[in-house]
């Protein structure tokens, strides 16, 4: 059963002058990894913004568990149901890795008794020990910051993880490690992981690859 469904989705910039997404239809399931690929300007990041509720489509629907996300409170949707890993990570630099993760839990409705312990556990799961967890994020490497961003999305246990170029700034070793985390989340935690990427390495590893060519999402 699909957790995420896109129906006849259209989006354009400049008041309809520049059509980016035209009549997109597809479904995403839990327990699988997806890669959305395409040349620059084909609307990959736009699609991710629409799926994360940061933007609204011109027409069409995005269904989360068969509910139109426009009917769901956008804050609740982003803080509980989908986890977004932004291309620029969007971590709060004045906070530590641990505080960034804790803040996400605070914002969400998740009920956890010991948030700090839970955050440390998640950070450990993505490969960051307590010493690094207590560092300000600016004092972590790019790969470590990427893990913090992943940990932040995992902290409130969303069904869907949306990642925008998550390995864009990482070396091959870190790219492999991050990809392994995503695969693990899909297989073991039954998450639906959707990755917007240019990376061939990722496209080779995920369950399904979609190409956003000619504004149509194609099942590879």
């Amino acid at each position: 059963m699909s957790v995420f469904k896109i129906e006849k989705l259209c989006y354009s910039y400049d008041n309809g002058k520049k059509l980016v997404l035209d009549n997109i239809n597809y479904e995403f399931e839990k327990g699988k990894t997806y890669a959305i690929m395409g040349k620059s300007g084909t609307g990959k990041t736009t699609l991710l913004s629409l799926m994360s509720g940061l933007d609204v489509p011109m027409s069409g629907k995005i269904l989360y568990n068969d509910i139109d996300i426009s009917k769901i409170n956008e804050n609740k949707y982003r803080s509980n149901h989908v986890g977004v890993i932004f291309q620029s990570l969007n971590l709060l630099p004045h906070l530590t890795a641990l505080e960034n993760v804790e803040l996400s839990m605070d914002i969400s409705d998740i009920k956890i008794k010991n948030k700090k312990e839970h955050a440390l556990k998640i950070l450990a799961k993505v490969g960051l020990d307590e010493e690094k967890a207590n560092r300000r994020v600016l004092r972590l490497s790019g790969g470590e910051q990427q893990r913090v961003a992943i940990a932040r999305t995992l902290s409130y246990n969303p069904d869907v993880i949306l990642a925008d170029e998550p390995t864009g700034n990482l070396d091959a070793v870190n790219e492999k490690q991050v990809l392994d985390i995503f695969k693990d989340l899909a297989k073991n935690d039954n998450k639906c992981v959707i990755i917007v990427t240019h990376s061939e390495n990722i496209s080779n590893e995920v369950d399904t690859v979609y190409n956003l060519e000619k504004q149509i999402l194609n099942n590879n």
Binding site: N75, R78, S79, V84, F86, Q87, N90, L91, L92, D106
Partner: protein, 498 residues
């Protein structure tokens, strides 16, 4: 709870900015605290002074109205006869005063009558013609003379008092009995007290008798018995020289009224009796109502009611100026302080735009983001307001009193210049409140008893007002955050950054 934690972290993260904001708010709070305490204390002192102030009213002849009426009622072919015209103006008699005095607006009234008489057996002390008003609190009573007919002259002024209260010079110790005693106020046997100068000049002692004549009819004479001799202790040399107190013969209202009744039997030579009255009103608020009531009771249209509120207003003028200055200062400080805070907050928001975008992108609600910003400012404001309140409470009393003294000096300089240039201006003095002077007797304004001290302490009311100012400043300066946060979407903020 996490918002407070985040707010606290943000404050400690941006120490310099928050210290700067804190300093500005401390300055605003200190200035506001001082201004509020001055304003508050000035208002309280003014109100309490007004409450304790004995508001008095006198009846004055409105010479302007008389003149205008005389001109309008005289045709070009007629010759204006002021005496005839004045005779038509209805006089205010002692009986009228007693009727007017029975009023809800009047606490009490002081009544005396007076006339000038001659004597063939007495030698006057000086050439001064006594014209002193001696009733009431030293104010100019019956500034327009009640009687205009039979305008007689006389070397001796005879004053008849209705009550002992009316003998204000004895009450405030300007006059002191040095020999004998005061007559009984109810006596009808022409008992009197005279000045020590008059007694010495004529070898009079307690128990002596003196004979006074109607200046219009030498054959009409009245005998008075001296029961006491008084001394005028006034130290004002100007006053002593012209007061004419030496040639006064003070007696009871009943005695003098009896003489007047006898004299009135012959219209052409009757004594010119003047009525002096002061009404002690229940409050300053009833002046208009009392005036209206007097008109309904038959007071002539040519009389006006004058009060001592001018003196009150002069006394509190420095206070009012101080209060007005404090209000203006408060407004300016709040406007400047508020503007600086708004600008600092705008810079703060610009600086933290990314943070807002991230928080909104990960699902923090708008109002929670806004709450965090408001709480941050509220924390800084609260600490600063407390500091400002402490500094203000220490500084307010000395600053307020220094400013008041400066204001009084300024007022005194102005009054002195008025006095020097025009004469008759109020003489500035540091006299204590309530001191009565006789300057008014000569048409000279009374000394101004300035309120020269206020207790501008910071109390709960001012602290609450300060708290309110802090809250308003926080809300006003947070309004920029409110607009920004409600207008921008997280995607817009983050994509701009990207």
């Amino acid at each position: 709870m996490y918002i407070i934690k985040n707010a606290f972290k943000s404050i400690t993260r941006s120490k310099i900015r928050n210290v700067l904001i804190g300093i500005i708010i401390v300055v605003v709070a200190t200035a506001s605290c001082i201004a509020l305490s001055i304003k508050n204390a000035a208002n309280e002192v003014e109100q309490s002074y007004l409450d304790s102030y004995n508001v008095t009213a006198q009846l004055s002849l409105d010479r302007g109205a008389l003149r205008n009426n005389a001109k309008s009622s005289t045709t070009t072919t007629e010759t204006f006869d002021p005496k005839a015209f004045m005779s038509n103006v209805k006089n205010v008699s002692a009986e009228n005063i007693m009727i007017y005095g029975v009023s809800d607006y009047v606490k009490s009234y002081l009544l005396s009558i007076q006339t000038n008489m001659d004597s063939t057996t007495l030698t006057k002390v000086s050439d001064t013609v006594a014209t002193t008003n001696t009733t009431g609190n030293g104010g100019p009573q019956m500034q327009g003379r009640v009687e205009f007919t039979n305008a007689s002259s006389g070397d001796f002024k005879v004053i008849g008092y209705k009550t002992l209260d009316s003998m204000t010079q004895f009450i405030n110790s300007t006059y002191k009995i040095t020999s004998g005693s005061m007559f009984s106020i109810d006596s009808t046997n022409n008992s009197c007290v005279i000045s020590v100068e008059l007694a010495e000049k004529n070898n009079l002692a307690v128990g002596s008798t003196l004979v006074l004549n109607n200046p219009n009819s030498a054959a009409e004479s009245y005998t008075f018995t001296v029961t006491g001799i008084y001394e005028d202790t006034s130290t004002d040399s100007e006053f002593s020289m012209f007061s004419g107190s030496s040639n006064q013969i003070l007696t009871t209202y009943t005695s003098l009224n009896s003489i007047a009744t006898t004299s009135n039997l012959v219209e052409s030579t009757k004594l010119n009796i003047q009525t002096n009255a002061t009404f002690n009103l229940v409050s300053a608020d009833v002046v208009d109502a009392f005036t209206a009531q007097l008109k309904t009771k038959g007071l002539s249209e040519y009389y006006t009611v004058t009060t001592n509120l001018e003196s009150f207003n002069q006394s509190i003028a420095p206070l009012e100026n101080l209060s007005s200055f404090a209000t203006t200062f408060l407004i300016i400080v709040l406007l400047i302080g508020g503007s600086i805070l708004v600008i600092l907050n705008m810079l703060n928001i610009r600086e933290r735009k990314y943070e807002i975008g991230v928080l909104r992108a990960i699902g923090m609600k708008k109002h929670i983001v806004l709450s965090q910003f408001v709480i941050e400012l509220l924390m800084v404001t609260s600490i600063s307001i407390i500091l400002g309140g402490v500094i203000g409470s220490v500084a307010s009393v000395p600053i307020a009193n220094n400013m008041l003294q400066s204001e009084i000096s300024s007022q005194e300089t102005t009054q002195t210049e008025v006095s020097n240039n025009f004469g008759g201006g109020p003489s500035p003095t540091n006299a204590t409140q309530g001191k009565n002077t006789m300057m008014r007797a000569f048409g000279k304004s009374a000394n101004v008893d300035y309120v020269d001290k206020i207790n501008a302490v910071v109390d709960v009311k001012i602290l609450l007002q300060l708290g309110l100012i802090g809250l308003v400043l926080t809300i006003v300066s947070s309004s920029i955050s409110m607009i920004f946060i409600s207008r921008y979407t997280p995607l817009k903020i983050l994509s701009n950054r990207t």
